[in-house]
Symmetry: C2
Subunit: 233 residues, 2 copies
Amino acid sequence: MAIQALIFDVFGTLLDWHGGVAREAARLLGPLRPDLDGGAFARAWRDRYQPGMEPIRQGARDFADLDTLHAESLEEVLAAEGLGSVAPETKRELVLAWHRLDAWPDVAEGLGRLKPRVLLAPCSNAHIRLAIAHARRNGLPWDAILGAELARDYKPKPAVYLRAVEALRLAPGEVMMVAAHSSDLAAAAACGLATAHIARPDEKGPGTGETAPSVPVDIAARDIGDLARQLGC
Amino acid sequence: MAIQALIFDVFGTLLDWHGGVAREAARLLGPLRPDLDGGAFARAWRDRYQPGMEPIRQGARDFADLDTLHAESLEEVLAAEGLGSVAPETKRELVLAWHRLDAWPDVAEGLGRLKPRVLLAPCSNAHIRLAIAHARRNGLPWDAILGAELARDYKPKPAVYLRAVEALRLAPGEVMMVAAHSSDLAAAAACGLATAHIARPDEKGPGTGETAPSVPVDIAARDIGDLARQLGC
């Protein structure tokens, strides 16, 4: 069955969340804490990402978007750093750090090669407005914004992948999930989607990311350009 | 309050549904009915558009997309023409006529002028895949696909406009609904949105469309380029 659409994980797979949040944290908190380790701050914040979504996945909490979850977990990270008294406007700017992420260098050209041949959409836990910010900043040529907000649930819940497939009016096997995280691909494969792994060995600093998938995938690629090449684009 | 996003009606406002469906009907049914009036066929089909959505608006039927509703109403139109025995594959191609509509000549350039200044999205009764087909064919530079499928309801129900505004994380007054139909704008205005009317005097043949709004609007424009000019873009 020919692949007719690619749907993408975004944080880590297409965008350097670690570098972007570290940069913004250093910029916004540097005046208060000149010795702040922006990377450590970004990692500590991201560590609270999965636990924040879990009550929503379990149905114990209504859907709340990542701006909301990031604002909540930011309080904990700031308190742990002894920065609990940061001004509200600084906190709002810090949440917007997640809107100001830069793509890895291979992304724009790789997506541009794929665009004439297949439909392209994010299937991320980012909400629609956040995905728009990512796309505008980095020229991501999406056909639609799919993902968590459309399903009102968070990956790796099957509803998120299946609602994206439904929106494209394709069969699951005609859609390929692209991610740098094996757990994301395993969940997509369980829904019947094809899968492609992207190596992001430096996702949160040198040597911290997946260099290869730990689960069976249809394609393992070095980057988005390599994915395009392997798909014949 | 400054306008930060424009959301658009599509059928009639941006796309020439009458000409496109007439063209496809003549192409697909001409071999069976050489004297077919494609325009009359398109108008007869479109006349069944509002009644088809009504049970969904009223909650008597679960959300079904326009491909489904068009396929259902097509049976009635073909039967009325004495063409009930048309092959299933021809019927499927006829439904796809609504995917193959061309934009009015002012649309691509006008949207291109607006894009650097405001967010742009359709807020149409078209489902996501249909909106993608429209965008790909005509180069519509959408930031996201909003509208009926996101709300799982049909305009002019308030949920469709309000869900679009929510997805953009804006206040209703920061979003302008753009349409060639006064009834659409009246419904959006009742939800607190700003409104812009586009004159499409030839929507379904010469002299058949609205030349001016019949309700109060914030902007009345000749076409999308004129709208851009009036917004200072």
